[in-house]
Subunit: 349 residues, 4 copies
Amino acid sequence: MKALIVDGEGRLSVEEISMPQIGPCQALVKMESCGVCNGTDMKLIHRTFKNFHTYPAILGHEGVGKVVKTGEFVENLHVGDRVLLPFLEEAADGYVPGWGAYAEYCVVGDEKSAVRHGMGPGTKQWNEAYAAQTVIRPEDRVDAVGASMIITFREVLSAIRRFGFQPNETAVIFGAGPVGLCFTRFLKLLGLKTVVTTDILEEKVETARRMGADYAFHSASCNVAEEVKRIFPDGVDYVVDAVGVNALINEAMGLLKYNGKICCYGISPELTMKLDWSSAPYNWTLQFVQWPSKKEEGEAHSQIMAWINQGVLDPMDFISDVIPFERITDAFELIEAKKPDTKKIVVRF
Amino acid sequence: MKALIVDGEGRLSVEEISMPQIGPCQALVKMESCGVCNGTDMKLIHRTFKNFHTYPAILGHEGVGKVVKTGEFVENLHVGDRVLLPFLEEAADGYVPGWGAYAEYCVVGDEKSAVRHGMGPGTKQWNEAYAAQTVIRPEDRVDAVGASMIITFREVLSAIRRFGFQPNETAVIFGAGPVGLCFTRFLKLLGLKTVVTTDILEEKVETARRMGADYAFHSASCNVAEEVKRIFPDGVDYVVDAVGVNALINEAMGLLKYNGKICCYGISPELTMKLDWSSAPYNWTLQFVQWPSKKEEGEAHSQIMAWINQGVLDPMDFISDVIPFERITDAFELIEAKKPDTKKIVVRF
Amino acid sequence: MKALIVDGEGRLSVEEISMPQIGPCQALVKMESCGVCNGTDMKLIHRTFKNFHTYPAILGHEGVGKVVKTGEFVENLHVGDRVLLPFLEEAADGYVPGWGAYAEYCVVGDEKSAVRHGMGPGTKQWNEAYAAQTVIRPEDRVDAVGASMIITFREVLSAIRRFGFQPNETAVIFGAGPVGLCFTRFLKLLGLKTVVTTDILEEKVETARRMGADYAFHSASCNVAEEVKRIFPDGVDYVVDAVGVNALINEAMGLLKYNGKICCYGISPELTMKLDWSSAPYNWTLQFVQWPSKKEEGEAHSQIMAWINQGVLDPMDFISDVIPFERITDAFELIEAKKPDTKKIVVRF
Amino acid sequence: MKALIVDGEGRLSVEEISMPQIGPCQALVKMESCGVCNGTDMKLIHRTFKNFHTYPAILGHEGVGKVVKTGEFVENLHVGDRVLLPFLEEAADGYVPGWGAYAEYCVVGDEKSAVRHGMGPGTKQWNEAYAAQTVIRPEDRVDAVGASMIITFREVLSAIRRFGFQPNETAVIFGAGPVGLCFTRFLKLLGLKTVVTTDILEEKVETARRMGADYAFHSASCNVAEEVKRIFPDGVDYVVDAVGVNALINEAMGLLKYNGKICCYGISPELTMKLDWSSAPYNWTLQFVQWPSKKEEGEAHSQIMAWINQGVLDPMDFISDVIPFERITDAFELIEAKKPDTKKIVVRF
């Protein structure tokens, strides 16, 4: 089968690799779509992903596919089921998964069967991804392309829960890319009192406003700190870095309320910075959530699907481009081009 | 001014009463609309409202009006503001407020000014309603009739928070009247995994399904307990009594999961029952929430308005009849008629 | 080996039964002590234990013993370890476990090894008790008799956590038997503002005071409701039934604060009552916690041992009698005698 | 009256200043004792206290005194009451309070009376300290010297609650001074599974062990990071900086579990540092709690007094020196001397 490979020098190519084997509690999945992640995928390409050093690697981790074959103990997955988050669990022909969803076939696990047959958490057969490899039901109002966006939705919602946002609180979000827009939309749906979103591109500022931001500022043409201080003289409860630029952390400090929190979701390639908390309140928190737990992603599924099925959240609002797998390297060029109207790019098989 | 009075025998009449006076932190409000509450209003009429014994009383407590005059210390209310939950705070001409929103003029307080001027919580000038007398902003997408429904929305949402529902949990709701429909809709928006709603009227069952219930059962034509046990062999996390029929408590017992909870929101006129927990799990809870805290209602406002302003929640979906104040007694006859297509009735001034 | 049997008519006798077998993740334990539970043990004897109908049964569930043999996969249990909560998992010679700790040998499981070897939660080999079969370390300041009391301590503490008591709240506890005393002592250690304990026996009232009760009332000689209302004119946050007398639930109602909770820990043999909430506030909760989760008991271990090891909690304060296994039926006669100075009775092997 | 003054050059002197006046909801207090704080007091002397720039200043903020006169509306304070945390609220003779408890007379407020008389939170008469100016009751087992330690106890406990420590979690505490010892003792009393305390002085390491630390390391003679990793191969839930040395933050990073937290309670004079999270897990939190809320300190009182009154916590274990007010400057020399056996120093009037 074909798969997208990155070598140790950042070169992308589609190569022929062996099909994955499935165990008794697993299913084989023919891939339908996979989102491009401008965090993880790009960092793997540029060799800046913390603690990842094995190349050549098979990219992709926001995939959706259909079950084509099931192992002997599988009970909760059926041929024809559309399922989220298939991965390659093992290296093939010297290519290591990172995490392999840009391949024609991947693998999912049947969580409940694995548990019942003694292959659950704590055993060597278990893979924590099983907890998030959820089936999209026929009645769910989403297609294969839209479904790949659910993976980002769940990551962001599970991070929101971990950061601890509560109704009636206030937030400033730095960045209105796909992740920043998810924060904007979700925080309003969750009942925050006021959400302010900023971006350096005017188009994205407009989109943030449409997504529900109470205020949206164009950081290239106004002084965001002044605007925020005018609206919130005592500061805000949360500042979210949805971009991954360390310098924003120091900038955020002065916007915080007593006991406020800076939430780092965006991943910066640097791992150090000069922290300056002279403008911070006496009590404040800096929280990094850069590795969503698969269990928590799975637990975010019901909320996301309730929003989608009730017409509250439309995955297509977050997707700007759908590119066939045959032209997958174009998708990465598009990301690098950083065009103002690029939102999420989805690869379709 | 005119006001709707109930005497001690349950007779309704519109009488002329004196206009309310306002204090320095209060504003006078000309009423625009007021919802009919088939819980409290009906119980006051029938003399079954626990601990309420003073008649003749001025009915109404789900009102909306416009500020026409402000006290000298008022800073956060302006003439022309539309405001929720005006009340009559004092008896007039021998009529006691219960809570008086079916009068042409009522009173609201400016919470922040009251606090700043030493008339806040703990002082004798304070009224806890000030915490819920919120201004509807011009940009909020709701008119005077729809706004009266916000009061029910906030009561139900604050009760939901107090009951402690969490994402991924499961619930059965007995009753698909306005309150049962609010529970159904809100619990899905809040990410519960599965919500089942039941009613004895087929029309209401259909509405519940449209509002987002995963399953909706017509209790007159099927065995609800059997249906629920088929879907949830281990029981559900919550059973909500949105009707106020004590017998449902014993029926709910057998549907509960280990550590499940029965939530009594509907108010029964009786205050005793034979409790039989032989079919309950060893651990279970029975919680009565029948008096929403005004503070908590005020805190529910942001979430409700975020849903309304983003098009997720439409007050008009819950309102079946709008009746002019001149024909207000018709509204109560309509309630007593218990017609299958009656939802919330709103009186318009 | 010898074991205490109750037949279907409530007759006790010590019989010879077969030794238990152990699986690869289990250990064989020679029993050292076992507490007498005047809830569960007595209900099994009197055939009033909800849902338990299989006799003859092997009694005992508060045991402590020493590991004498380990299965091949066991890693975290060693011969000589003192361990809490051994059980008989299987029927022997027609005697069913209920739960069998009054036998000379019982079984425990190695939780971590079971998980690692695919016999964890969700598999048929798993027993939820493994999560609470904790090892008493050599440095822990408790002997075999005292250790049996830890089982009650953990049950009560895990119930306290489930009921949700918080620092600065207030509580009234009905009953100063071993369980009521645990509630009294623990709630003060956990920072409740005021704890009031009542009992019908003067001796127990005194003990409650020594254990830390801010007030202790002798219910036979004073009007508890009046006393409580004098101290707390607005009522208390919690009333705990540590006795199992349904009538107390109605009595408790009038003592509750707005949003207060009645906590039923004591188990009544009846499963019905006439509930009368006319004296309750509008908002209140009735919570039954009568089946502690083994997982939660295991999670309560650290807190209990920290208190014991720092000299804050002495198991011997709760134990009045230690009786050798040879005279075990005397222990049950002592329970039935209901003498005022009887606290916990422990059987020693 | 006499008071301890620091001028803008760090010189200390006792000066004569005017007696404070009391308002209708306040009481005049004759001081009995005051603890020396090696955080705040020393920073005020060295001009490194963030945002404090007004000199000459009257030092002291851990005081205890007796009520000698009450204002006309005072109801909950009586002449003779021992009360915590009196302050000078206003400048006197050009000396500004910082916070003035090293003066012969100070002021407290009657929180409830202030609220009832319209001088509560939000009014200009209110002082947030009223929420923490608690009366020590005659039955409380503590004298005037011990009582001053309660102020530190409550500050630390309220910080512990804000940091969010939970039973069964694990913690490493850097520093075994008075604050580090409070963390050690309280975290064990609160049921943490394992607490490790480190210090560079051998005497303090011993004390930490006696206070309940499961492990205590002498950082000058062993590699703390290695020792911690040996005990907790996956890291710990919390690392507490109880010292105020920024470099410890980077050191702590490598000890954290996935989702672990670094708690900064110690106050460093610097407000910048080079943060290096290369050794941190993907998800982690850095929380600064350096300004305890008076309301939260007041709410910590019940828990602290329950521990003291039940013999679980002895203030004298934390106090090494009691120095008369006449020799108050000696107290500060003793702090600067940094002797290994110095714990808390209390000044007695």
